[in-house]
Subunit: 386 residues, 4 copies
Amino acid sequence: MTLQRPLGVALIGYAFMGRAHSNAWRQVSAAFDVPAFERRVIVGRDPELVAEAAGRLGWAEWATDWRTVLERDDIDIVDICTPGNLHAEIAIAALAAGKHVLVEKPLANTLAEAEEMADAAAVAERDGIRSMVGFNYRRVPALALARRLVAEGRVGDIRQVRVSYLQDWLTDADAPMSWRLRRETAGSGALGDLASHAVDQLQFLLGEPVTRVSATTNTFVPTRPGPHGIEAVTVDDAVWATLSFGSGAMGSLEVSRVATGQKNALSVELYGSAGALRFDLEQINELWFLDATEPIETQGFRRILVTEPEHPYVDAWWPQGHVLGWEHSFVHELRDLLVGIADGTPVRPSFAEGLSVQRVLAAIVASADDAGRTVDIASINSEESP
Amino acid sequence: MTLQRPLGVALIGYAFMGRAHSNAWRQVSAAFDVPAFERRVIVGRDPELVAEAAGRLGWAEWATDWRTVLERDDIDIVDICTPGNLHAEIAIAALAAGKHVLVEKPLANTLAEAEEMADAAAVAERDGIRSMVGFNYRRVPALALARRLVAEGRVGDIRQVRVSYLQDWLTDADAPMSWRLRRETAGSGALGDLASHAVDQLQFLLGEPVTRVSATTNTFVPTRPGPHGIEAVTVDDAVWATLSFGSGAMGSLEVSRVATGQKNALSVELYGSAGALRFDLEQINELWFLDATEPIETQGFRRILVTEPEHPYVDAWWPQGHVLGWEHSFVHELRDLLVGIADGTPVRPSFAEGLSVQRVLAAIVASADDAGRTVDIASINSEESP
Amino acid sequence: MTLQRPLGVALIGYAFMGRAHSNAWRQVSAAFDVPAFERRVIVGRDPELVAEAAGRLGWAEWATDWRTVLERDDIDIVDICTPGNLHAEIAIAALAAGKHVLVEKPLANTLAEAEEMADAAAVAERDGIRSMVGFNYRRVPALALARRLVAEGRVGDIRQVRVSYLQDWLTDADAPMSWRLRRETAGSGALGDLASHAVDQLQFLLGEPVTRVSATTNTFVPTRPGPHGIEAVTVDDAVWATLSFGSGAMGSLEVSRVATGQKNALSVELYGSAGALRFDLEQINELWFLDATEPIETQGFRRILVTEPEHPYVDAWWPQGHVLGWEHSFVHELRDLLVGIADGTPVRPSFAEGLSVQRVLAAIVASADDAGRTVDIASINSEESP
Amino acid sequence: MTLQRPLGVALIGYAFMGRAHSNAWRQVSAAFDVPAFERRVIVGRDPELVAEAAGRLGWAEWATDWRTVLERDDIDIVDICTPGNLHAEIAIAALAAGKHVLVEKPLANTLAEAEEMADAAAVAERDGIRSMVGFNYRRVPALALARRLVAEGRVGDIRQVRVSYLQDWLTDADAPMSWRLRRETAGSGALGDLASHAVDQLQFLLGEPVTRVSATTNTFVPTRPGPHGIEAVTVDDAVWATLSFGSGAMGSLEVSRVATGQKNALSVELYGSAGALRFDLEQINELWFLDATEPIETQGFRRILVTEPEHPYVDAWWPQGHVLGWEHSFVHELRDLLVGIADGTPVRPSFAEGLSVQRVLAAIVASADDAGRTVDIASINSEESP
């Protein structure tokens, strides 16, 4: 693709994720060699709030109607940070309009929507239109390094994996009801919010999809004070699953919003025939690696401070040992999206990969609804799944 | 009970656990105020080896026939460190002979045996005969402190619990076949060896039994070189289970012998409405406690070095900060057994508690055999279980 | 001060620190409520490089002559990121021209220059002109929280302090000679680069200046390959000092560039009559606090993840548990500078505080030159010091 | 030496160290192949207390007069655990009587005594009489492994070393006066108690003696309540020193008894041209090793859990991952002493090595008394030193 003019970017949404993406759009061209782009417009429903956001977050214009924005010729990239129930409609329309699309995770709230989105992306891909789902943790340097080491065979054949994502913001049983705790608005609880990251991360690191799950979910605090009195919480607080992969690898997944004292603890462990890896998002700059081919005498998990120029993405930033934060993963995501657009090559995670995560989430629900019985991912059918 | 003369102790078994118990018998009266006892006899099948063990481990005599030893009037306590398939026969005979009994964990290899043992212990208890199953980790000071904090309400109502016990000694796929990897001799793999500790620990810390499980097991290395060629491994390498408790607490259990780089990593996490606790056996002197009632500004997991006189069992040992090891938990176990005998009070973990662990293990097998379907512990029947 | 128009900012320097400051100028108004400003001009000697930097780092214009820039009426703030030997000349001229000044640390290469700068800043202050020296680590949230806890008395009377700043980029004895290793260009080695941070941090946390030092310095690799053959390294690789404070507190300082495997390890420990604090820059989001007024049974260093809205500066960023990086400390620095300018209140660290650090560094040199003999800071005289 | 009968052991002292040594004497022959010995007699001044100790700690007899014990033909080894001011007299007499001698650290309270002891040991050595000073930390498996790695060149040429030993038992300013805080009884404070361990450890690990020191000492709590009113503390609470070695290595030493929250934190760090090592006594089973010859991408400090059969001393104990405690270092010490006696080979640390530590401590005092001025160890003269 020959870029005649700067790419035009539209961002839809200005809440938490809109802020995080805006930050990344402000940062990416200072750190990386990317094609020129302009932050043209931010879109939101409330005119006053979106106007304020445009000024604060650095967008040239603001708008309230995303459909109108999709019609603009000067918009090349649509970055979707809305609640999940709007992802499908906007993304499909944007792809149809020939825009490259980045959509926040999870891909959609329902499996049917996710399938439509993946289909639309596959069609658009033939015309050189790129699409990406925002599982940003793939671009945490330590996790990108982990993937590199796995691909190089440094851990051998992976056997046992463990992933957990623990938070505690629902620990207080008196915390009030909100839209996030109602199934009709949020789709699910920790499942869509946290388990989606966990599943994508495992599939990314192993390079293969989950094939079977056995799962259980629970709502520890079943009612909470709502605006009109006590109300039932209709989403999960926590999810447990045992996962199988086609290679024979197996593992556990556990996510929670009531893990008291755990703030944002995404933990990943991989145990292979030749080594092992461990990571914790609260210490985002560190990867722990054990090389089992070394003599026992000096074998041990080594703490790699992933802040050196030799590490993925890091040479764009600061000298050795100067740590990065959570937000940098979004900058790296945009870097790869922009380079893909410029190079005319597909970007990842694709919508198909996002759909793959949704299938696993649907299988988790199906298994949990059937008392934990093991469910084949292949059997998951969008007509029966939420 | 008036102790007219030193208690006579017989130890049956001289392998790993026989060594660990011998060590504890040598140590306990130097550290603690306990009734007088004598290490009278160690019993084993091989005369040469048991004779050598007697000298090295500090037993006055040795014998090869445990039945004869049970007939001796000068034996008051029988400490059973044999393989699990002999536990029931010896323990029941010893109790019938009026001896106090300590039996290594797990209580037995089959549920039926465990039930008989618990029955025998209940009968003997009426005559003041004490029985204890050797879940020694209850007496690790940090875990005893954890139980104390739970009992005092420092973590509030426990909701989510996590326990894992990871080892790596089967990581090498070329490691040879052994009796530990055959179902007929070992009963099970990581399940009986590691999950039994994990289950007892959770039931101890929560003060209530598991009520339901959903589980999966796997053998990652399905064949190994045996003396007569390649042989099938017939026990599990790893187990995953989701556990429910009557109080509403839920949690995960994961044990493995192929977790590369993990040497002896029993990890326990408890998340409650008022706080949280974390422990790792590889850092046996530390307990991590978070008090969620403190202001957020200074809230955090604190590392308690459990080496102060204020901590359970510790004042018997060294001054502040002088760390203890794995073996000390056995010394504490004997201390409590001996004090229970002297005081005429029951000791714990009782055989009934050991049986409770066996029921959970049987339920795990039942669930795994039924594709992970949730199983009620109450439904476990010794006639159908291994 | 009534701000009639956006403040105009000029940045002088575009190397490592110029990049870090540019990043902060791009970020600060998205995160914080600060007076409006414009990134007007970046200044550097090489026209081609500074032009490229202007585009990449987000400055409206570029220039090669800082004197001309100081004459511009549309420049209100001058941010000096040049090598240290230019700090004094530029800062004094800028203050004389009525510009607010931010100068990177250390304040200057010589004590005499630092004194002149402090004098100039004091004069300018009377006219409402603000000046700040860029000891950015004061604005790491964890260290800002540490200062808050000290000020609130949570550690009681501070007695013993420990600070070390360890790096390893000179470990390789074959690494080539550079201007950083020659006294005439760099002034000193680890002393000015690392010890300056360490000293400022201690004086900040304790709220009082160092009064006496006993010190030693060393160059472990005394020669290195230069462009014209082997050349003598004329700056220090490492510095050790024992520090005393007027309150009676005492402590150690140790900095190094040959601490193999340590990438950017600024470690601070404070031990007081009522508690203790620990911090490590490689885990920048964590502060360890021990409250010695709690019962021994549950006393321990707690790991505070300093990522909550209750923590200094954090509410401007992301939700709970989303970690920040090294660069955020510069954003916070600018926030406080801009607010000070808007409010008409002095900002810190002042040039006087920067001078205070220089005096301690000079005393370290004096002591090291006199075989470690203790030197009073009060005796340090700019006429005799480097 | 042909051992005709079991070696007879006498222990002098029954307080903390007497207990720790008794424990080791009870343990050593169960764990290691050592010549036969008998715990014949324990000696103490108070008949009632020593009689009780004999029973509890496992000694056949007790006595109150060490001189009489030295005359006994059935005593071959004298283990001296008295206060330091008695070390010289007893040890010299025991060596003269042809007994092998183990003396607790530090070797003596004064340099003159230490010199006499080293002389006596050298004379006795010619007759095959062994002597050892009890710097037990050399036999912590992790530190023995550290020494092995240094000797094998795994860290290259050692440049910078750091050792600290921090405790907090004097943090409370109202804690009463005791003999340990008076110079006439204790000799010194943290210096003799903690710095002696630290110095020996460095000299052991580097394999060479300290050659120069610059030091400072301080008493943070200068008065304490005594039996007859407020009394001056006449020993140090904390010591700081910069140390030089003949090889060019340099480092820092810091010890304290007022480091709030630090219970028994002996920390050692070695930075060399090819790698680095770190150790902390509170996590006694771990050694951290960085191999700087590996590619940067996967370089990092690895945590070696020093609990494998391949590690020093460990194969005598439990299977993989079963951690040891503080007390095991004494068992290892006795093992090496007994093997040395049986083999007729010298044992270490020798009295000469103990003397070497004393010289460094004396140099620290001399430097601190001279405002931190650097002192050559070679200049230390027992006639002028305490």
